[in-house]
Amino acid sequence: MSDYVLSVAVFVGIWVTLALSLNILTGFAGQVSLGHAAFFGIGAYTSAILTANYGQSFWTGFALAILITGMTGAVLGLPSLRVRHDFLVLVTMGVNFVVVALFKYVDFFGGAMGIVNIPAPSLFGHTFRGGAPYLILVWVYALATLGVSWYLSKTWTGMAFNTVRLDEDAAAAVGVSVPRFKIYAFAISAALAGGAGSLYAHFIGSVFPDTFVFLESIAILSMVIFGGVGTLRGPIVGAIILKAAPEMLRFVQDYRFTLYGALLVLMMLFQPMGLLGDDSWLWTKLQRLFRKGS
């Protein structure tokens, strides 16, 4: 694999993780968020500051990025207890703007100059910034995120998320603590995105506030919905297609975002459940194919 393909694969892996983590919040617990890039950013900055400014190792930075972002997620999830639906969408959007503004205006976060010279991870004395080891690291983490998602969807927590998504009042009536599970969902989703942020920061080697803006949140949510919200396969496929699309569409040069937009519109028009959503054309076909085969 060439370094170029490797590098694209690393970014696709990071965005698959982001899509999967948002899916826990939006797909499982039904809390639509347009601020996921904030958690991505908090993870990236946590890891960047710890390693570049305080000399910690990548692994410490990575672990603390997950932990701290998860805790921040729990706190920033608190508004979801007060506001619902489209109001919540706007609040998450607002959180994104405020977080980016803090990165930019508070000197501790490097301000406008960002954080540079973020070291590459090392293991047993080997340093790897690019190359296959980093790719493996990223995809192992993506798999771990998938594992967490799968586990959640199978356990009581997952079922509680389901009831919160479908009908909050009914959930409360049957004894599910809606606030608790909303905060859980925010915390888990944020923590996983924080890890993705750390992997991003150490791969690029520098972080700037502008990477984690609202537009990135839009892109992540699009991946989840495009692939099929609430499923495990959907966000993965959505992220792979939409993150790789701008690279694959390079030959149309300046028209790649026109096509990207058209792709989103067409998918929502004809397959509102997403490419691989539960009642989607492709998924039905695939299932039939699979059943015939077995």
Binding site: Y4, A112, G114, N117, G130, Y200, S206
Partner: protein, 404 residues
């Protein structure tokens, strides 16, 4: 709307994607001389010297990315029309990075591995440039940052050069301009909230202190701001005789027009961010009397500056801006390095650039030399807006002032 229609449309898009992937090698048959084209790709394999450039030609930064690409392409065309280098034609390969670090990081690898460029140019912003620089450095391919100003870009390693003037120099010259040339006493500072503004202001303040300037007000504002009236009110109360306002031409045009509306009488001093014909077009008469520091002297009689300004206008039917001039010079520098080294060997090219002396073949020149930190030493101009155009105002050549 039926399912069939969906399948049909999806099929079209997928086919377009696949055909595109398959066509990528074929697309590289387009002649390189076609200025203004999108993908500047080779005539025939092996005959050309490839230079890579990434710049944002889509998204919010498309204006700068397009200027950079067009000017770089102009330089390549001009060099090729004069017979190329060492009997070979130059070829410019461009990818759009949308000013995003992750895209720039992938593009840098693509340029190095697939396109086998001998040198790279960043026509993009600081974040993207900083992400691409280590990849060029590790691959041992020289890269020149055209106008990204983050101080850490060139610290990446010995293969990374810069065309633009370091903000620490430009800010210092700005203070000198205010203190010694305009002879201002009371200064208000307005800082745009990105690396460009912050770095300029820091340098300005440091030198302003040496000159004994009285800083009566300091304010920061967000990139893309269009409503400056409340802040102008504050500036008026502080009653400065000079406002040092870091901005790009869009913010600058709004600030300058609104300052005029609100009756602010202080002289406004800007920097290369203002240096676009768009600034004068958008600000109109309010731009008159604004003084900026820049590398591009539009009244210069240096042949290369004149040629660049004329040819750019002729080719693209737009007046050239500072961003374009920097990308143009990046190509000129690479061409010079290859010519002097007599090869496309990276170390030889780097050596040639480090030994560069009083280089005249650049639009933003002359380049006296490169410092060991690969920052350029050049005279810095002050330009004033008069009768709807930038004109020469002052030139700073004091080595203490212009050496990074």
């Amino acid at each position: 709307m039926s399912r069939k229609l969906f399948l049909f449309l999806t099929l079209i898009i997928v086919t377009v994607m696949l055909v595109g992937c398959a066509q990528q090698p074929a697309a590289t048959q387009a002649p390189a001389q076609e200025a203004g084209g999108e993908s500047q790709a080779p005539t025939t394999g092996g005959e050309t010297i490839k230079i890579g450039i990434f710049s944002p030609t889509t998204g919010f930064a498309a204006a700068d990315g397009t200027s950079a690409l067009q000017a770089a392409q102009l330089a390549v065309t001009m060099i090729n029309d004069n017979g190329g280098i060492m009997g070979k034609k130059l070829e410019l390969i461009h990818y759009d990075d949308a000013a995003k670090p992750d895209q720039a990081a992938s593009i840098a690898r693509k340029l190095i591995e697939q396109d086998k460029v001998v040198a790279g140019i960043s026509g993009s912003y600081s974040g993207a440039t900083r992400a691409a620089a280590p990849i060029f450095q590790e691959a041992g391919v020289p890269m020149i940052s055209a106008y990204a100003i983050h101080p850490d870009i060139t610290k990446t390693g010995d293969k990374i050069f810069r065309v633009g003037t370091l903000a620490s120099v430009e800010g210092r010259v700005g203070a000198e301009l205010v203190g010694s040339v305009i002879k201002g006493k009371r200064v208000a500072i307005l800082t745009i909230d990105n690396d460009f503004g912050v770095a300029l202001t820091e340098a300005f303040k440091a030198h302003a202190k040496d000159l004994g300037l009285d800083i009566v007000l300091e304010e920061k504002y967000p990139l893309g701001e269009t409503e400056f009236r409340p802040i102008i009110g504050k500036i008026k109360e502080a009653n400065p005789d000079v406002v040092y306002a870091t901005a790009y031409y869009n913010e600058a045009a709004n600030f300058v027009s609104q300052a005029k509306d609100e009756g602010l009488n202080a002289t406004i001093v800007g920097q290369e961010g203002y240096d676009s014909p768009k600034f004068i077009e958008l600000a109109g008469p309010a731009a008159e009397g604004v003084i900026i520091t820049t590398d591009l002297n539009r009244d210069s009689d240096r042949p290369m500056t004149k040629t660049f300004l004329e040819q750019y206008k002729k080719t693209y039917n737009e007046d050239a801006d500072m961003v374009g001039a920097s990308a143009f010079d990046a190509v000129q520098l690479i061409a010079y390095a290859i010519k002097t080294a007599g090869s496309t060997d990276a170390d030889a090219m780097v050596k040639a650039l480090m030994a560069l002396k009083d280089f005249e073949d650049v639009a933003t020149g002359p380049f006296y030399r490169y410092t060991p930190e690969r920052e350029v030493v050049r005279p810095i101009d002050a330009q004033i807006v008069k009768d709807g155009a930038f004109h020469f105002y002052h030139e700073f050549t004091d080595p203490d002032l212009i050496t990074p």
